[in-house]
Symmetry: D2
Subunit: 338 residues, 4 copies
């Protein structure tokens, strides 16, 4: 019996980054995989789309293309974000599953965020640099601004996959967590043991603030100068979602004036220009968009694709990839991962 | 009614480091505190010892001194380690509580250890330095050796207060934890959900190894060259207890050869000499004995002293400070926290 | 501005069971609610459906009805199960959110299941009856078959909302959990810290088995006589999902022969006939379909309806109710709750 | 080389209840065990005491006996409570470890207490009885007083081993826990994430109250009629420590009047007389002192004895049994576990 056809066109993602030999062999064992990374051929893609069971990748799929794709059951974005090159309403109307791999990065980002928070709580990177530079400061001087995470007041800006994954890691620290997420009702936040709060409350009441907000029209410069001034002096700010959410000029001033410690993984311009003024400041950890894209995260995408295509081909719902919300597709303004 | 007399002689610890104004006021409210830091007077100390309820600090207390101290109920060491300047058997025979403040640092050390582990798992400090130095490496190159802590194999060398506190923080990471502790029966380790293991197994089976072992005659160079070679290539080693436990020459070679990533908080010579060769290596986080001594940890000592002296004066057992084990006093070789 | 119209027709559910005064007032504040429980009028319903924003309840909605309902954004089933009286494919094609309230009962069922497991682990109900009947057995006799849940081997048959909620409650017991769920890939189960297993392994290796499987064609008598014989002697079986999943004749024999202890909340015939032979046996807890339907669970439905209708009316995805999986609608054979 | 001598005299405890064949063989492998249960001989005991390394059991040990026991390192009570037949101050002065096995029962009692709480939260035992008696009440009637433990307000009276073990089991329920324990400073309770409270606050603010208080002069009828009236109507009271702590006449009235639901494991007269009026009430679970004494708990005592005697014989501190607090020995008024 013929295996269902899967059209594989991962660009700008790469096959070898998201599939191990093992998972790619598994994909081929269960499906007839046409690999357009290995052999690009747009005409062939268009022709085969009519009989294809699934598309893995983010090629253009307009209403015409989808109209003829009568066997199509799934479109799996392996790049992290949904782009406007697919006619999503047409896909939803046709009962095609539109799936994304954003959750593949959640644990990596959560662990990195916790690492950054603990780092700026204790000045680890700062003092590593200082000791290597010959500083022989008294220990008590280098730890005088150190604080514990235990029983700290923590704010989460955004409570999607990233916020939830980080929140889980905070469990043993017995923290008091406030969550600001305008896309969620309070009850969801209360259920997790956190306190629902406004953006203003979250900032004013937290000594550690994690920014996980997605970039949308509404969230542009959500953390303006005025909002940053709500933070307590000495607060730790961890930025790992999207640069558009923060006013970096205002942030720079406050870190320079020692009002805030920051750990920053996303930047208005990437790669970070060498004259970026943050690079001169001690109380900031500089990270060049490294929170999510690690080998284990990438490889989990291949596994998730195998898992969910197998489920769908058996008439079962997908269980691992993120189901695109019709209401949200089109709202996101994310830049692609590098 | 007269308040019980407490002789306070914290040297080499400092009053203002371990007591806040609030806790020192509380101590004075419940006890008549004679402060020998403020007013040193050895003769006065010797004379008042005969009627004292408690000594807070680590002055010499030989058998003669203790023989006359008929009202003495507690000796509270506020420096972290028990020194051989007290006749402990005499104190135990007299029913005097001998207490230490080691647990005051547990949470600080545990959080710091987790921070170090996550840092060397992800190269955070290394890449902060690289970016500040103008490196514009591809993100994928800087993350190619990044690993998750989730579901990692973790080894704990030593399972006292530090090991237990760190273990609690690992709970959400779903790790497989092996514990080597020759002072504990397997059952205690099994009860915590970890796997009891030999030193060799712990090293050979773990990708993250935390060294919490106390320095004793038996633990000197416990991690010899031969033992370090049991670690898997790419393992992360976190050293936060005592330098004597590790062969630093052997460790240096293995970090230089990129077989191990290390995060080191304790050093054979402190302060760290500027020509220490570790300072030139990228895959190591340099930390100058900063894991435990932070303001919150120090201040908790004052609170613990108040709590336990109040309990003892009410005829109740102490509940916060660590009760000295007669079997262990005298075994420790710890250097004082400077 | 006009509030969106919500058609409310909860039969066989009741308004006052799922809405408190507070939540019903909230619903009316945000929507124009037409209450067909208070004022049944099928013609009015049909007429208003054309302009309605949402239907709350489980009335017939065939393709004709849906074709004209051009403003309809949500169909919210408040009864717990999806019935075949709605043309689901038509609803999905129209982009209508089809939502259910199954998760409202998860916590109640999970707590009840844990209670049942601990009860039959310790003979609580059995010995309450015995003592009231005048038994004065030695304590050691009444506890000789008592077992701990700590570090026990636990099997979960089915890992949907109920299985996950129960699993969360097991966390402090340090159990070894096996999960059998044919609708899920192993990776999902591994991620939770449990062991994926076949039905046979799950039964043979577990001392506590929780049956949460949904009734489908495939799951009818999943626990046959042959399968029940795989359980270790003395195993505890907790049945809280659907009676169709188990062969009760075979189960009765094994409980009577003292091979199993059981706690049973669902029955082939309900109400339980007085001559049901289980009623005579000591090592069984008799429960008359009481696991989920408690006031807090019912009232959460009203709150969930308010939360999600408000989100959808703001152009956001629902966050609390269960999104119907197109693949699964039509598979379920559940009987309505009472 | 001669093995250290252990004098084993467990009465009123029994050897076969606390040792398995395996643990008793282990004890004999490491020590020369003189078994006075098998061969009672008081003269032999007195004679051998002079050279014995340890006594396991609770024989009389007055100051004369202890004076000559110059090799004695440990007295291990295997019955659960410290009786006044030992000269404890003499033992402490001699540096003899005085150990008890109370913690052996903690998990069993904690699991049982949780089971009782969930049972009376949901009426499980009550409705099992009702259904067996032919009641065919509507489900909604039998669940109308059911409540969740999730996010409930919980009070713990006493926070020793039992309270801590139960508290650990509550972790996934996201409860608000108040603790009353006059032997502990607030800081210990705060550290666990609970709220320190007075007895009055704990009662008035809790819907589930667990009574773990030890019987002492101060705790006699701690829960008097007046105090019981502080509980909210419908509160659940779980009694598992000592009967002396509660006024049973007052409790009976309040359960009869349906103001409280109770689960009771300890009774003023045991075995429970058949005319005890609680036996007629529906909203009470009757339990005949069954919370702790189960096979796994008893057998852990033998293992704990082996573990700690081996440690002590190696010059290490005990790690499993409970170290007797000099301040508390003599305060307890516990009845022996039968």
């Amino acid at each position: 019996m013929a295996r269902p056809v899967v059209l594989f066109k991962p660009t700008p993602q790469f096959r070898d980054r998201i599939f191990t030999e093992e998972t790619f062999a598994r994909l081929n064992a269960n499906f007839e995989v046409i690999d357009y990374e290995a052999h690009p051929d747009d005409e062939d893609f268009a022709r085969r789309l009519r009989d294809a069971f699934a598309v893995v990748g983010q090629p253009d799929l307009d209403s015409n293309a989808l109209r003829d794709a009568t066997a199509l059951r799934a479109i799996i974005n392996v790049e992290g974000n949904f782009f406007p090159n697919v006619d999503y309403p047409a896909a939803f109307a046709r009962g095609i599953r539109v799936l994304g791999c954003g959750t593949a990065y959640s644990q990596a980002v959560a662990e990195y965020s916790l690492a950054l928070a603990l780092d700026i709580a204790r000045g680890i990177t700062r003092e590593d640099r200082a000791t290597r530079s010959g500083s022989d400061g008294m220990v008590s001087a280098t730890t005088s601004d150190s604080i514990l995470l235990r029983r700290a007041k923590v704010g989460l800006i955004g409570y999607g996959n990233l916020g939830r994954s980080l929140h889980a890691l905070l469990a043993p620290f017995n923290t008091e967590v406030r969550v600001f997420d305008p896309w969620l009702p309070s009850s969801v936040i209360v259920d997790t043991g956190a306190l629902p709060a406004s953006l203003e409350q979250t900032l004013a009441e937290s000594n550690f603030v994690f920014v996980f907000a997605t970039a949308t029209a509404e969230s542009e410069h959500l953390l303006s100068a005025e909002k940053l001034d709500l933070l307590p002096v000495g607060a730790r700010l961890i930025l790992v979602s999207r640069a558009a959410v923060v006013d970096y000029v205002a942030l720079l001033e406050r870190v320079r004036d020692n009002k805030l410690h920051a750990a920053i993984d996303v930047w208005p311009i990437e790669p970070i220009p060498i004259d970026n003024e943050f690079l001169e400041l001690p109380n900031v950890v500089i990270s060049a968009h490294r929170a999510g894209g690690i080998p284990e995260a990438f490889h989990s995408i291949g596994e998730m694709v195998c898992d969910d295509l197998e489920l769908i081909s058996q008439g079962l719902p997908p269980a691992r990839l993120q189901v695109a919300a019709p209401e949200l597709v089109g709202r996101y303004r994310n830049k692609p991962v590098e």
